[in-house]
Amino acid sequence: MSVVTKADQVATVDTIAVTIDGIEVQVPKGTLAIRAAEMIGIAIPRFCDHPLLDPVGACRQCLVEVPDMGNGRGMPKPQASCTLEVAPGMQIRTQLTSPVAAKSQKGMLEFLLINHPLDCPICDKGGECPLQNQALANGGGESRYEGVKRTFPKPVPISAQILLDRERCVLCARCTRFSEQISGDPFIALVERGALQQVGMYADHPYDSYFSGNVVQICPVGALTSAAYRFQSRPFDLVSTETTCEHCAGGCHLRSDQRHFQVKRRLAAEAPEVNEEWNCDKGRFAFVSARGEDRITRPLIREDGVLRIASWPEAIDAAVAGLAAAGSSAGVLTGGRLTLEDAYGYSKFARAVLGTNSIDFRSRPAGADEAAFLAARVAGRTVGQDVTYADLEKAGHVVLVGFEPEDESPLVFLRLRKGVRKSNLLVTAIAAFATTGTEKLNATLVATAPGGEAEALAGLELAPGNVILVGERAALAAGALAAAADLADASGARLAWVPRRAGDRGAVEAGCLPGLLPGGRPLADATARVDVASAWELESLPAAAGLEATAMLAAAATGELKALVVAGIEPSDFADAAAVRAGLEEAGFVVALENRLSEVTERADVVFPVALIEEHAGTFLNWEHRAGRVNTVIRQANAPMTDLRVLAALADGLGKPLGIRTAKQALAEIVELGTWDAPVTKAKPTRKAAAKKAAKPAKVADGEVAVKLSTWRQLIDGGRGQDGEEFMAATARDSVARVSPALAAQLGVADGDELSVNCNAGWYTLPVVITPGMAEGTVWVPTNSPGTPLGELGVVFGDDVALSVGGEE
C-alpha cells in the first residue's frame, strides 16, 4: 500500500536556467514564470491563474518585468507571469525587486476593487479570500475611486445548489473555464461585455453539473457560494481535517471543516495522484445523512417484539447470547460503507470468532463469476501493480464495460476527460446508449444490449498499455468479465475493476467474501488457511465454503442459518428487496451495527450504534488499490464506538477475543499479514452464461414489448447516504426511461410520454426519452432514483422486462 515509484518511470526532463529576482533556478522547459517563481518561494499574486486550467491571462494581477528575454533584449511591457513561458537565460523581476511590477500589481488591485462591494464582513469568503488577502497585503490603504459602483441584483441562483453575487466577481473566469474545460458542462458562461461582463447562465437551464461545487472552491472571491454553506460559519471558526471521501471508490481526498462538533462543509483536498484538486458534488455536499433525528446513539434490544433502549453491557450480553446459540450457523453482511480496518474486523470476526466463511460485502446484485474474477484479478494487489488515475490519461485507449464513469466514479470521469483533452486519449464505451458522459469524453459508443458485452469486447482490438475498465455491473453480463480478462491477456492491455462504493475494494482485501481470506488468499488453498490461522494464532480456520449474501438471506429465511450480523445494508440495494426483508425477518437472530434507524434495525434483535465516518479513523482503499486515510474530524467524548470496538466486545463476550480493537491495530495486522504471494493459479472465470438466480422471465401481456433492462445508479439519486441534502438533491438528473427511436415507434410513444416498465413483481412508470443510437431491444432506467428503486421490482441489469404505454393499468 505504499506508492511504488520505479526509477525508469521518472522521465528525464529538459531543464533550463532562469533568474527570478536575482535568484537562478532550474526549471523544466515550458514552465510558466509564475510557477518558476513558486519553486523558489516567490508568490506572485494572481486571480485567474489556476494550475489545472488553461492559462488565460485575464486578470493581469501577476504582471512582472522581463528585463531580458534570454537574448539580451527586454520586453517593453510588463508581462503576465501566468502566461509567460520561461526561456533559457530569461531574467524576471517580480514585485519584490521591480518597481514597475509592484506598481502594475498595485494598480490592478485598485481596479479590481473600484467596483467591488467591500462587503467582507457579510461574505462567506471573508477570512479565506484571495482578494481580501491581496488587498490587505499589497493594496492601497485608501481608494482613489470616487465614482459610482457597478451593482447588480443579488444573489442569482445559478442552480439550486450554487449562488452568484455578481458584484463581488472579478471576472477571472475560473468557474466558466472549469465548467467548460474540466467537467464539460458549459451551462455557465461569460455574458455581456466590457464593464457589464458577468458570469451568466440561461434561465431555463440551470448549472446542474455533478461537479458544480468545485466552482465555489476555486472562486478567488465570494462571488460563488453554496446554498448549503452560505452564512453557516466564518472560515476562521472552522477546524479542518484532511480525510477521504466515503461515497465512492474514487478515493478523493477531502478537507472536512467542523464547528461545534458538526461538519459544516467539505472541500476537495489536493491529491495530485487521485482527485487532483477536484471532487464531485456528492462528496462535497452529501454529509448530513444520519446526523439527524434518526441517528442511533444508544444500543437497542428487542423485547416483546419492540426495540427498547438498553445499556451497553445489557446489549452485548443479549447479542452474545444469541450468537452463541447460533454457533457457526451465522452469516455476516458488511455492505459497502466500511473502512478497510472495520471490514477486516468483520472478516476476522466471522472466521475466527463465529467460525463461518459466510461473509459478503456485496449488498447489491452480484454476478455468478464475479467472486472468481475478484480473486484472480483484483484481490491481493497493491497500488502501482494495477492501473492508476495517471495511467488512464496516458493509456491511449480506454474501454468502458458495464461502467458509466460520470455517474459511478466521477473522478475517473474527470481524469478520462483530461486524458481526452490533453493526451489524445480515445475512449470506447460498451453501453446501451451514448450518455452525456460519453459525449463529454468524445467516446465511441459500441451500442450494446445488456448481455452483449462479451461479444462487443471480442470485437475490439487493443494494444499494450491500453486499459479496460469494468464496473460492478459487468459481473451481471454473461461472460463479460471473462471476455475482458481474455482481451487484456491477448492484447497486453491492462484491466481494472472500478467498484462503486468506498468500502468495496477494502472489503475484497479484508476478505469479506466467502472464498477469499485477507490479502487475497483463496480459502480453498490449505496453505492460505494455515497462513492466516497462524497469524491469528488459531489452530485452524473453518474450511467449509461459505455462503454469498443472497444465499445467506435465503438460508436465514428457511432457518438453515440461525443468525446474521449486519453492518450497513439496505434491502432495496439488493437484486430482490423482498427476499432480503424476508431473510432478515425470518432469521433466528439478527445483530445490526448501524448509524441510523433503517429497515435492518427494524428487523434486528440487537442494534449497536456505531461511529459516523467523521468520528472514525481508518483507511479506504480506492479502485486503484491506493490507501486513503480517514481521519477523525470530530472528537467527542461520548461518540459511539466504531464497528471494530463493538465486534471486539462481542468477541470477548463469546470468549474468543478478536485481538484488535482500534483501526491502528487492525491496520498493523493487515500489513503484517501481507498479501498472498503463492503462485497465482489464474482460475479464470468461466465463460458460460452466469447462472441467474431463479430465472423469472417477465410475463408479456398483450400490448407489451419484451426488452432487456439496462440500468445503473445515477450519481445523485435515492441513496440513503444523500438524505437530508435538499439543495443537492434538486440538481439530480431526471428519472426517465430511455428507448431507441425504433422501439419508441413500435410502442407508439413520444418524448415525455409515460412508459411502464413491468415485471412480475410490479411496475414503474417513467417519462420516456427517445435516445437516438441506442441499442435495440433495450430500455434504460435509473437503478435507485427516488420512488423507483429496482430492488423492489426484483429486476437487475440484463433482466427481461416488459414495456407498456401509459401508467398504471
Partner: protein, 440 residues
C-alpha cells in the same frame, strides 16, 4: 518623382456600376489572377515581399512576411481571413472601397489564398454596413459564376471558396484574434498568443489575417510588379495608400497617395481647414493614435514619420479638429467609445475605462479637483501596457496625448465646464440646440 495623388485602388470608384464584374473586368480586372496562377505560390509571396507592402490595418507588419510564416508541414488546412471590421473611430477607407470596388478584394483574396495554399477564405465585415455587405455578397457570387471562384479556377486546378461573413457589432473584433473567436461563433475576445494565428488560428489551423486594403493592393503588385509598387512611397513605407480626411475641413474625403504625403499637402488639396478656423489637433490614424497638432503638419504620413512624431500611422484616418473644439470633450467621447467596446476580458481595460469615463466627465463639467490631471495620468499609467490586447493602449494614448498637448485645458476643468470654454455650438456644422450648446 511620382504624382501627388496616385489612384490605384480608388481609380474606378466613380465608374458606371463600378461594383459589377463587368465594370471590373472592363478595366483589366482579374488579369492578375491569371498571372499569379501561372507562378508558384512561393513566387507570388516573394513578389509581395519584394514590393514592401505593409499591413494597412494599422500595425504595418510586412504582408509578404506574414504569408511566409504559414508552416508548410501543418496537416490542417490553411485559411485566409480578411479583416473588414473597420470600426476604429475616424477610419472610413475600407467601406467605400468595398462599396465601389468589391471585386478588387475578391481578386486579391484569390491571389493571396493561392500564395498561402488556402482553399477557404473569409471576409469578416462589420455588420452595421448593410449595403457594403450586399455588394460583397454579390461580387463573390459573380466571381463564382465567372469561374474565378470554386473548383479548378480558370482551368488552373486551383480551388477556392470565399465566405462573406457579417459581424454583429463589436469594435474589438478588429483585433485579429478576437476576430477569429468571433468567426468561430464565440464572444469576440482576444486570444492568448502564442500560438500565433499563422500556426494555430481559425479552427486551430494556420491562418493569415489581412486588412482589406492590404489584400486589395495585391492584384496591382502582381500586375505591375514589385518595383512598380516600391517606386511609390518612402524608403521603408512603400506603395500607395488611402488617406481619409474628415472633420473640420472644407472638403473631407478619400485621397489615394504614395505613403509619405503630409497633412499640409492634403489640406492644401482639399481646401484646408474649415473656413475661418485654424487647425487645433488631429489624429493620424484613428482615435487610438496619439493626437498631433499644427507643429506636425509637415511630418510625412508614413510609418516612420508618425513614429518619430510620437504617434502612429494607424489607419491613416486623419480627423481634423479646429480651435472651436474642446479636447476634453473629444477625449471623453473617445474613452466612452473604448469603455463601450472593451470586451471585458482583462481588468485594466474593463475597469480602467469605466473609471476614466467618470473622471473625464468631471473634467468636462468643470468639477475636477486639483490633482485630478495627475490622477488621470496615473490611472492611464496603470492601464497602458498592462492590458491583454492593444485596445486599452489606444484608449490611454488618446488621453495622454491630449494632456501632453493641452494640459492647461484639462486643468481648466478644475473650475470651468468645457462647454463654457468651448461652446459646443461653435464646433457643429449647423446651429445646435440650446441644450447641447449649454450642455445643461
Amino acid at each position: 518623382m511620382t504624382d501627388t495623388l496616385t489612384p490605384v485602388l480608388s481609380a474606378q470608384w466613380g465608374a458606371e456600376k463600378s461594383w459589377t464584374l463587368d465594370a471590373y473586368t472592363a478595366t483589366g480586372g482579374y488579369e492578375a489572377v491569371g498571372t499569379a496562377l501561372k507562378l508558384t505560390p512561393a513566387q507570388v509571396t516573394d513578389m509581395v515581399k519584394d514590393s514592401g507592402l505593409r499591413g494597412r490595418g494599422g500595425a504595418g507588419f510586412p504582408t509578404g512576411m506574414k504569408w511566409s510564416f504559414v508552416p508548410k508541414d501543418n496537416p490542417n488546412p490553411t485559411y485566409l481571413v480578411v479583416n473588414a471590421d473597420e470600426s476604429e473611430p475616424g477610419t472610413c477607407k475600407d467601406m467605400p472601397l468595398l462599396l465601389a470596388s468589391p471585386h478588387i478584394l475578391v481578386e486579391g483574396m484569390i491571389i493571396a489564398s493561392y500564395a498561402i495554399n488556402c482553399h477557404t477564405a473569409f471576409v469578416y465585415i462589420r455588420g452595421e454596413v448593410l449595403h457594403v455587405i450586399r455588394r460583397m455578397q454579390q461580387a463573390v457570387a459573380q466571381a463564382y459564376a465567372a469561374g474565378y471562384l470554386g473548383k479548378n479556377i480558370k482551368g488552373s486546378g486551383y480551388d477556392l471558396d470565399i465566405i462573406v461573413h457579417a459581424g454583429a457589432g463589436a469594435y474589438i473584433c478588429g483585433e485579429e484574434t478576437a476576430l477569429l473567436d468571433s468567426l468561430e461563433g464565440r464572444r469576440g475576445q482576444p486570444r492568448l498568443r502564442p500560438p500565433f494565428p499563422a500556426v494555430a488560428g481559425l479552427y486551430a489551423s494556420p491562418t493569415v489575417i489581412n486588412n482589406v486594403e492590404s489584400i486589395a493592393s495585391v492584384p496591382s503588385i502582381v500586375k505591375n510588379g514589385s518595383s512598380w509598387f516600391g517606386s511609390m512611397g518612402t524608403e521603408k513605407s512603400k506603395g500607395m495608400t488611402i488617406y481619409s480626411l474628415s472633420g473640420h475641413v472644407n472638403r473631407p474625403g478619400q485621397f489615394e497617395a504614395p505613403l509619405g504625403i503630409t497633412l499640409r499637402q492634403l489640406l492644401d488639396l482639399s481646401g484646408g481647414v474649415r473656413s475661418g478656423h485654424q487647425l487645433k489637433f488631429w489624429t493620424p490614424g484613428g482615435s487610438s493614435t496619439p493626437i498631433l497638432t499644427g507643429e506636425h503638419l509637415d511630418v510625412p504620413l508614413d510609418y516612420e514619420g508618425m513614429a518619430g512624431a510620437g504617434s502612429m500611422l494607424g489607419t491613416k484616418a486623419l480627423q481634423v479638429f479646429d480651435e472651436t473644439t474642446s479636447v476634453v470633450r473629444t477625449t471623453l467621447r473617445w474613452i466612452e467609445f473604448y469603455k463601450h467596446e472593451s470586451c471585458g476580458k482583462c481588468t485594466p481595460c474593463r475597469e480602467g475605462n469605466w473609471w476614466l469615463v467618470q473622471l473625464l466627465k468631471k473634467f468636462e463639467a468643470g468639477e475636477a479637483v486639483d490633482g485630478d490631471v495627475d490622477k488621470l495620468l496615473d490611472i492611464c499609467d496603470d492601464i497602458g501596457g498592462k492590458s491583454f490586447c492593444a485596445l486599452a493602449d489606444g484608449a490611454v494614448a488618446c488621453v495622454t496625448s491630449a494632456v501632453r498637448h493641452f494640459r492647461g485645458e484639462f486643468e481648466a476643468g478644475y473650475k470651468t465646464p468645457a462647454w463654457e470654454l468651448f461652446p459646443y455650438g461653435a464646433s457643429a456644422l449647423f446651429p445646435v440646440s440650446e441644450k447641447v450648446g449649454a450642455h445643461a
